[in-house]
Symmetry: D2
Subunit: 498 residues, 4 copies
């Protein structure tokens, strides 16, 4: 039986406070007759009338997605996606909307469904539908709705996709299962999620991958931002929003000192917490020491800490035994991977009382009255209890757009039926498109210097195997037989500053 | 005409997500007949049935208010407030409840009203009423309700207050106006707010202060926590909750480098922002330089910054001219004092469009499409858009309790009809009561060392004139003729670690 | 018997590497016949021929003493020290030379001796003598030489001082003892050192102070720089130069969390050390907690730390018992006050072996082979093992110059026979003169803002009692009966930016 | 013509203050007849009588080289280097002595020469000779001496080396040139320096490498420590020792944001400098932005900065044009690679005056009097003007020892005639041997977790291609055809904590 992502609880929470309330409308969108102002009804959203509110959110997002806006400008002359028919399955948010409208501006036709039954912003979906995008998504879909929406995207008379943009692999799975012949015309898959990439590697290993696929999840830029820089901010945000706690003077243990752990530790240290670290890898351990953190085993500090944060990619890092020994009011949360780092299941025993005190906050109470504060039921704090900054989403969206362009335009034979990592140069290009946000001015090599270094003046500046690896979880999926096979060129994309 | 605080919009926001919803109940509490489980109806709250929910919040707060809990323990033997009849007017929150129940445990009788028409947590008020405290407060009082509640606290047959705990001065004002004779029995006033302290100094100058008053607003501990440490965290929290922005790489100008400015700068620097500082005082300016911040005039950077934060205590620091020159999407907010630091009034002109995009977030849009993001309409970001950690409130509440004890027990003649600052030793005592939270172990002087330093082993360790002064606004109110006149002793309060 | 400072071992070490070697010349300067190029022989230095080398050092120092250079420029028109006859007794360094030549440019005549028998830079003394300053000082004076030099400064036919600039009080003491009548013409004393200030307060208490004296040691600017900012850098410098140790990952305990302790802790934390703090004052202790340091008793961590640093102003903070329990290779040093914080005397017992391994570095070896690394024999690390940045000395020298100007020009009666602290405005003025070094631009209040704040546009911006107090040691000397009596005005010194 | 390293000026400076002075002894060691206390004269050092002083330094170094001391203990039973005849050519320092004596304890015979004509510590060489090591080295060798010493190590009757430990490649070069037949018995080369590794790759490319070689320069642990952590400390140390400058408030531009640049920036930011960064690689540039540094072109800030630091691995990063535009007193130094980053040659023109003001410090003076402060004549500041912490040298020495053991014990055929990088597991093992220094406790995976992650419980924990790459300079030498070919196992070295 196939595992699908639609019930995954790790979806990203978005600010909802400002949105129009449509909770009183109980009619299923599938039963509604709606048309946009141009008379089209090729979409299915909650309420097309919310389009104006969604448009405002899209406009706000555009201001923080300079790279996509720059791509639009560049593409006014050439249309690198002219003829492309992209079917997409992602979270439907203002940032996705900016991506979709960019793809449109580059010449593509798009049809879109949601990759998660909860994460759609109805207003944004309405705005897209109003602009003429066939969007099939709303907040609170049933499982049946979910697959129905995906099917509406691909099962269209007179329109057949030639590109797939997927987030989680459900769309890809659906086409494999229902319309395998469709792959004959499909030039490639761009996949963003860990789960989806994992599935693609499995298909590849099994010899069943029938088109080239691009893994955009493991690009250096995305990894560095999603992990180090984003977590540095979201650990504080997630803890504050849920508990209103003060960081100063608090004792914290961070399990794992990869990029995520480094970000969490740096942020909490800066806010005046006393931070301990646990590690299994002696090199990361030595880094923790040199950065000023006491390296301990969890057992050694579990009785004294105020907060426990897991960032390992491992499972059962915090066990019931640890939980039993924590002091009263200890906060426990997970910034790592999936929801198994804390053994939450072990807390579902009769002698413990669970009390939901706020959204995403449970008190688990021991018979003697001790209570620990469990956040997001052990799921990812940064996704559940804080928002992802638009700037980070911009990096992902730009990478997706470039990957689509490359796969669509690649000459016959450049890509086999395999999973490819992004070439270094493309990573660097995405980064360079985001520098203007910071009014940052890149230095160019002189001819003499480029020759001295043996580099091309426009990059790439680092070898392809230079990567920022995430937790072991990720590396396993990048085992030696899956080493990047990168032959991309970016001829069609001149360096942004030349 | 007297200015009252009931309409001040600077009240502190508290988490409301977890609370029972009573919005459907439109009946005014004044029109309801309610009794607690012991049969008493000497209170007026929204809904006595919410008591259980409120009790849970109080229990959570108790865990972060160790100093008050320690006071309760100490006072089990002696009852230093036996016979005290305290009338109080403060925000009604879980933390206040812990204070009130502590005063009760120390022997006092209390009657309480809210100092703000919006800030009452109905569930907490219910819990207090259920426990037998005559509380008169609910969320959403009218102005008439506000004064009616205060009056119900003081105008009681057979009960006359002998102590006042005020926050804003409205209670004090009401007694001055309506029941001036009551002051004959009143031993003293403890006042927490800037506004209330200001009023007391005015009364004192005018020769109209007829009882001793204690200014707990300007204690070192409270100032340091409210300003430096609390703002270090709340600037990040307030910006995140309102805008979901990313701090890394952002250019920020912080106006003013007092304690608040220092806290904001340190936090943003730690998160990877590029921070500029403006200052009027060359000594603070030199400190900013040594701490690694470029000292500029606002004009020099106003075109390039992403965020403008005021922390001055001054007025019109950000003028319309500055606002006109800001770049698109610039965020403007105030962490300083009152709501005049940003000249918000100047933005209320016909050519500018205001758009409320979220709670506490306005876009102000120029004719050419440029928009700036104004937070909390220029009011205090830390109070409007983030919550105040319980730990900080604990320091204030403990100080209030000690001030009440001192004034109530002071021998005849120790205090004149004047405004007093807390003695250093009391500040130190409050601090010491909070050290156990951090498992912090204080070192004691040996006899030899105490003699060498000329200090008492139990403190005070700093002279009385050692203070952490806030912005000039505050200092003005501490002009030379209002210098601390401190004659308190804490004989009745042995050093907590002896 | 009077204690003199000439044998104090806390003198500041200066870079000597670049200097001409004159160690072969064994003749006492007192026995030499020397003339400068203009034919004058009214001086006594090691070797007048080294003048050129000294001049180069003075020129280098001038570049980092912008405030004195600015004073010279301002004073080209008026000569606020015209007629002043200043006798000085300070360390003879390049920075002092810049001060002396500034005093000369302002109209003063100067005669100068060294306040320490070791600290004179012979080349600088030669350069001053060559420029016509009667200087009597060389490196390696005997005690007899020391007093002879001082005497040559004051006991001159046809020249009688009317101002004293002292550092340590020896010059003042000599005049009191030998030429008490001289005080009739002396307008005031400016004293820089803790010791000297202490003596002046004693004289004042005893009713024996017969002229006004200015305590420049306790100015905010000087204190903040000498303590927080300077120590933040010199703790690293002193440890590196003596031990070449790596800071990353090292466990350090810092005793005392005043300004010096704060500076040390911040620097070591930034370099990746794990820092523990001890404190006696609960308020400072709470600050340490909020800044992210574990507050401990020394006993609790003494076995595990790699470095022990004292910053208390107290005595016997590190006892023989602590030293016995330290682990092998533990480094022990003092950043606080005098040389009693570590009980070094207790290590002078037969069973312990002392081994001098480098200059300022002793290994003290226990019978079992354990060795601790004692720096500077427990004297001040920052003075013994690192150099004081010119910028910090510039602040002191500027303050001294302004104090001399004020005392010399003050109208009859402004100053009594007492010890005065610098007024806030003068502190602020010194600070403002140093801002251009950082290209720092001060903001000026508008008239409206000044009125709103109740401040003069040119300052002072803080009340006179706003001070940055040092360790208790210092505060004792500022007891309540010695509170600042400040009546200075700076009418003759307009605000630097107006 | 072969380039040799003996004149390279980048040798590491060591503290010399405590050493015995032998400058009066002008006799060449080659002309002296010396015997150690056991009667051997198979060595050539400056003065065998200095052995005792050298021994003390070695003992001090042993305390900071725990990993080698641990290896000695482990090897008491087995002697993994029994039968090994190692000829070495490295800097002769206390740390090298600890390495040599460890190799001896592991069973090896050693003969040693210096890799640099200036860097030998005579006392240490004497101590080694006294202990029976045939050492041929002294401070201040001539070029002829240099090759003579190397020859004395290899050209011995009845002794032929079977392992080479080289630092710079001169020893390897000498054997290639003079005794090529010797390679028949040599099992491998371990090379530490960038230059030496480069030569080996050239030999390999040319098909002339006739034994396996191990590149220990590019191990993750060494790179991370040499670059990030060591530079974080040495940039401060080098600047302080040469200029005594204050960091607070200074404006600094750091060219290059690789590991070295990151270390420099972090340190200076922490000390209160205002730091600007230049970069050519957009990914590193974006990292600089997120870390809070303004990304600029050098031109944009060159007029305003107080310090310029190069960390690029590139050449002519600071040109004469930049130098012409710097402000007076600007400090210029190089932390990157070799001595070409600053175009120092361009300053050797007649109109500029050079003034040597201290050791390693030159003032270069423009006709208008402007002077810039050039450190170490553009050579590496960290090597020329600060010392390398023993802890860092310990990591290198441990890696060298393990590489020798592996090459010596590897079964026939495991290594071809090629250059090998260290396997990840060995890197991790070196790291783990250094954790006890920090009292750091590594966590072990449970069986279940190891299985979940697909890892061996004892590591390696990261894939082999996970590396911390240095500047482009280094990467060029690691081009795709030189990718790590790692087949090592560490069977003989059980995990240190199992």
């Amino acid at each position: 039986i196939v595992e699908t992502s639609l019930f995954l609880t790790d979806y990203r929470l978005f600010p909802a406070a400002s949105y129009t309330d449509s909770s009183d409308d109980e009619t299923s969108p599938r039963d509604k007759q709606q048309k946009n102002s141009k008379g089209s009804s090729d979409f299915c959203v909650k309420n097309i009338k919310q389009a104006e509110f969604g448009r405002r959110e899209i406009e706000i997002a555009e201001q923080e997605m300079p790279a996509l806006m720059a791509l639009r400008k560049r593409a006014q002359g050439e249309k690198p996606l002219a003829g492309a028919k992209i079917v997409g399955c992602t979270h439907i948010t203002a940032q996705t909307a900016v991506l979709m409208e960019t793809l449109g501006a580059l010449g593509a036709q798009c049809r879109w469904a949601a990759c998660n039954i909860y994460s759609t912003l109805n207003e944004v979906a309405a705005a897209l539908a109003e602009s003429g995008f066939p969007v099939f998504a709303w907040k609170g879909e049933s499982e049946d709705d979910f697959w129905w929406c995906i099917d509406r995207c691909v099962n269209v008379e007179g329109w057949q996709p030639n590109m797939i943009l997927d987030d989680g692999g459900d769309l890809t799975h659906w086409i494999y299962k229902k319309y395998p012949n469709m792959f004959k015309k499909i030039k490639g898959i761009v996949e963003e999620s860990v789960t989806g990439v994992h599935r693609l590697y499995q298909l590849s290993k099994a010899g069943k991958l029938c088109v080239p696929a691009m893994n955009v999840n493991d690009s250096v830029t995305k990894q560095k931002f999603d992990n180090l820089y984003c977590c540095r901010e979201s650990i504080l945000d997630g803890l504050k929003r849920t508990t209103d706690m003060m960081f100063g003077g608090k004792q914290v243990v961070v399990c794992g000192y990869g990029e995520v752990g480094k970000g969490c530790c740096a942020a909490l240290k800066a806010m005046g917490s006393v931070v301990y670290v646990t590690e299994i890898d002696p090199i990361c351990a030595l880094q923790a020491c040199m950065d000023g953190f006491r390296l301990v085993k969890l057992n050694e500090v579990i009785r004294q800490v105020d907060i426990v944060i897991t960032c390992t990619g491992n499972k059962n890092v915090v066990t019931r035994e640890h939980l039993d020994r924590m002091k009263n009011s200890c906060i426990v949360c997970n910034m790592g991977h999936s929801n198994t780092e804390i053994d939450v299941a072990s807390l579902r025993t009769p002698e413990l009382t669970w009390e939901r005190v706020r959204s995403q906050v449970d008190h688990v109470i021991w018979p003697d009255g001790k209570r620990i504060v469990l956040l997001a039921e052990g799921r990812l704090l940064n996704l559940s209890c804080s928002t992802v900054p638009t700037f980070v989403l911009s990096i992902t969206a730009t990478t997706q757009a470039l990957a689509l362009i490359e796969l669509y335009n690649a000459p016959e034979g450049r890509y086999k039926q395999d999973v490819y990592l992004l070439p270094k140069k493309m990573d660097e290009y995405v980064a360079s498109l985001h520098l203007p946000t910071f009014d940052a001015h890149l230095t160019e090599l002189t001819d003499e210097q480029a020759k001295y270094l043996g580099l091309n003046k426009n990059g790439p500046f680092k070898p392809n195997y230079y990567r920022c690896l995430g937790p072991p979880q990720n590396q396993r999926r990048l085992g030696s037989d899956e080493l990047p096979r990168v032959q991309l060129t970016l001829a069609s994309f001149p360096h942004p500053f030349t």
